[in-house]
Amino acid sequence: MTSTASAEIREPASGRSSGFVTTSLRPELDHVFRVFVLSFDLRGTSAQAPESTQTLGLVGTLLGRGARVAIVTDASLEALAPAIDTAIADEPRKRLYVATDGGAHLFGFDHRGRPVGVVPAADHGDVLSFMMREIAQPLGLAPEDVLVVGEAGGLPALAEILEQQLALEAQLGPFAPPRDPAWMVVESGFDVAREHEIESLLTIANGYLGMRGSLAEGSSVSRPATFLAGAFELSSDVSPVPELVIAPDWGRLRFMVEGEPFGVETTTMERHHRTLDMRRGLLLREGLGTGPGGHATRIRTAHLASLSNRHLLLEAVEIAPQNFSGTVLIDAVLSGDVKSGSGASHWAGFEPRQGLVGPILVGKTHGGLELALASRTTAADPGALEMRCERELGPVSAMERCTLHVRLGEPSVLHRVVGLFTSRDGTAPVQRVELLEREAAATSFDALLGEHVAAWQTRWKQSDVEIDGAPRIERALRFALYHLIATVQPNDPRCSIGARALSGEAYRGHVFWDTEIFMVPFYVHTWPEAARTLLLYRHLTIDGARRKAKKLGYAGALYAWESADTGDETTPEFVRSPVGEIVPILSGLEEHHISADVAYAVWAYAQSTGDERILREEGAEIIIETARFWVSRGSVKVDGKFHIDRVIGPDEYHESVDDSAFTNWMARQNLRYAVAIARGVGSTKAASLGVTPEEVNHWEEIAGRMYLGEDPRTGLLEQHKGFFDLEFVDVAAFSPRTVPIDVLLGRERTRHSQVVKQADVVQLLALLWDEFSPSARKQNFLYYEPRTAHGSSLSPGIHALVAARLGLLETATRYLEQTASIDLGNNMGNAAGGVHAAGLGSLWQAVAFGVAGLRTAPEDPETLIVAPTLLPGMRRVSLPMQLRGRSLMVHALPGAVEVHVTGGTAPIGLAVESAAGTTHKVRAEPGRAYVARREEEGFLAWEEIKP
């Protein structure tokens, strides 16, 4: 292989600043590069010579910051390996590629730092092409992000360039964009058409609140919103429903450069990038533009919602005049001039105040929620910056107006610390926010930022999934986990997660089965405390579920299809369809499987965490009350079976159906859990709820009589009674299509066809995998998959999961890519209303439960079954997992699976299946690592290996 990496430093991209640079760097290097292709000339020296070691050390540092580096050398791997071992640690080495023997061989490195041969495709035979194909193209990197350094100048010149790169990063401080393209989402330029969905994607949140990634200074199309998790006010619809409270806008910054506003619509922008740094939980922005008067200015900003102190919100601003010295005005605004998407103003009034350290905006909603928002803006280096700030209070706003004297080529940096408390946090939010501001004033901005970044690092350590060989999926998964981590409040059971998380107003913040079935599993295995809190929300709202059951004439608890703060049903009864029909909405009346879904989630959480306490208390009440609902919901008919009529299963194209397989199977599980709890760990709670032995026996009997819709001849489950007699419609024949299939076919034809909206029986397979035989799983998937139109974002991820478990690699890959594209692919037209939180959760499940093939053994929750199926192109999938108090790290490799027990105090069982169908088990000890190597279609017995 011949490397083309022989060019000298690349030409700088057009449109970049020139003439006035703010650093001593060579202009073409004044850029944070993300991919490096370096010719490593060892002639006249050895791989272990000091200059080699020093340069490799710099490479290692860059790798540690997330850069992807390819080294091209005439040396052999054997000659270079000792120097790499010495200079580059195992973790960053995963991002290193080495082309040895002049490019004849290309190696990557695995999770243990061992070289792994990489075979580039025949038509991309050189190293640069490989890096472009492997990294740059899948992640949409601009050519200006790739630096190719040739051999001229040798190692000293190369070292100098690398040092300059590191110096630039240090100089940029918090404004430095991520090196690793798999950890960022970048939006360049400004597109009025896409702005709303960009705002959704770039949301920053910490579970307590979420702020859309709107432009700080606003634009004609900006729709800024800060959502307060768990706080609801009525919408302004004709039939008002609860919707998430829109808090006053805290992130608003207005810039006046020499009297002219700086913004995307008033300034001619040469560069404009917004970058979501997912690793650090930061939203970065860089704008370089020239105003009408010719003043060229570069403004960088960083925004975050602190994950270490959820009441703290931080902003940093850097202003660097490029061709003038003069005055810049910055207005840092707290504004109560906000409305919800429905047009509602949730705020009854505001009382702006002069606080001790900065202005305070105090407000009260119509529902009585009190809020206090305080702001304090300071110069990062007061000694070096001429700045004067004055406070201005308006009727519904409080503002700091800071006047800066800026000097040509010198960046001026401001810090802003905003605090927020509401009456939901306790009494006296004003006093609390003032105290917080005083405490923050005594702490450096860098320290506050550092605590936030450290909190994110902790979460990523428990969550991050690496997929070597599929960078687009890997980044989509990071995007998913970023939003899932950012949107949960792990300590407040009054908050659950709405369908669009804290990123948009669509779905009003309402909580569906999405949370328990699609998101909670991620938390169960990475953040059990958060999972528990989400389940306690269902306990806190159980009275609403009781009211709904009673209203519809049933016993027990029937959870709202759409829940807000009280647990009462908030689903409207009618909607006008886009083709003009008035359509009744039956999901609030008939989609009852949600009660079993909640019970399932409680049970699965307890099984996976070992948290028996929840089964003794809150969880027991949920499971018992929902079991009571199911008993009252159906009846035993002449066939002796228990039937549940007139429901909607997950497939909402078919309403008012009898004996939905999903509903009945899940109801049976619900009853079984109730029996187990009432007779076991939750017996005391059951007694307190008036449960008698006769009632428990009755649950058991009903579970035993449940009609399950199995066809003994084919092994198929009938999705609902009569489904097999409906018209077959070949869904694939309608692909590609620009409208949902129910719109294309019409409601009536869809209803009378076998077209399935979303995973229904397939969803059941995913949830109750061990209830079905291998042939039944496959038969049902092969039957229902071609009939499924994926009219819901909840569907493709579950299909990816099941297809991967079944070894249907191409199908699994297709659905995994579809799931990864739900928000980032920008092909839905409705990310503007927020990210699809359940889709994000299903992506994690598809990888963890599908590709990595992890699940607990049905007969022994203390044993983890590991059955990985790497999809085409994947060289390694590594993910952490919490299981019953142990921390595991699983590495699925092409020829083996490794499990490291990284935390816990007791052994945990690991199981793989052999080619003969038998099971190999091992009791894995904490602190130790194990490998099971592949043999044909199965695995050999576990071996202990060095951790």
Partner: protein
Amino acid sequence: MKPADLAEAMSHGVERGAEEGPRSEARPKRQRVLVALNSADAAASHAAIAMGRLVARTLHEPLHGIFVSETKVAPGELSRLLGLSPHALDGVVLDVEAGDPVERIVAFTEAHPTAFVIVGAENRERGGLGVGELAAHTIERSHAPVIVVRPEERVSLARILVPLDGTPSTASALEPAGDLARRAGASLDIVLVGEAQHGPHLEPGAMGAPQYVDQPHHEWPAFSAEFVHRFLKTIGHCPEAVPTRFFLGAGAPADEILRFADTLGVDLTVLVWHGLRSEEHGAVFERVLRKATCPVLVLRCC
């Protein structure tokens, strides 16, 4: 683009076709409403005048009429030549010229800022897009908005249908329609149309019907609000005050446009035309123009 270039471009934009006379920022921009008078079809001229009067009244502008024949005729003869009643042209500012009719109409629109050209469709002549030669060639060659009206059609401006294909380029042509709706106090019915079995648009910022409709009662209102905001308000510069409704077409675009026009009883259908008859848009455009049962406003884009 540098500020100076931008200013220059904007200046050119303002100057093109500007009326002579002193410049004054305070003077409101006047845009003419022009009726193309057709001696070949009295009914067509009559319909165009009726529509023209309504549009001119709506815009508070005088109505201009242009008549072009091989040899110049006296303005006083026009009513007779066109087969109109003696007072049919009262109040119309007449421009009588000799030459090629379409060429002169286009020259008029280039010389004077023209809000709309109104042309009557010839009943006897179904060639040329099915609306007659004068209307067809005016549509093809004029970059000003053209309204084609058939003699039998109702003349009203209460409800306007705006079919869109979900691309920013199409929506960028909508400003005249939005302005007309605002001034007429009309409402806009937006219908998203597209070939049902078609891949997604590749144009940046394009928006098709949502692939996933998790909960229709949330999804459709959110989607339609975003669609209207994106294409009508932001890109199409349609005034906020104009009431709008959103509909989704599910079948072949031309059939859906005609169906919605009929079902909703609209007074005017807006068609954005890329100027080509050969490609997909051209086929839809041509079919709707031929089959429409209400006046059609043709806006050129791209």
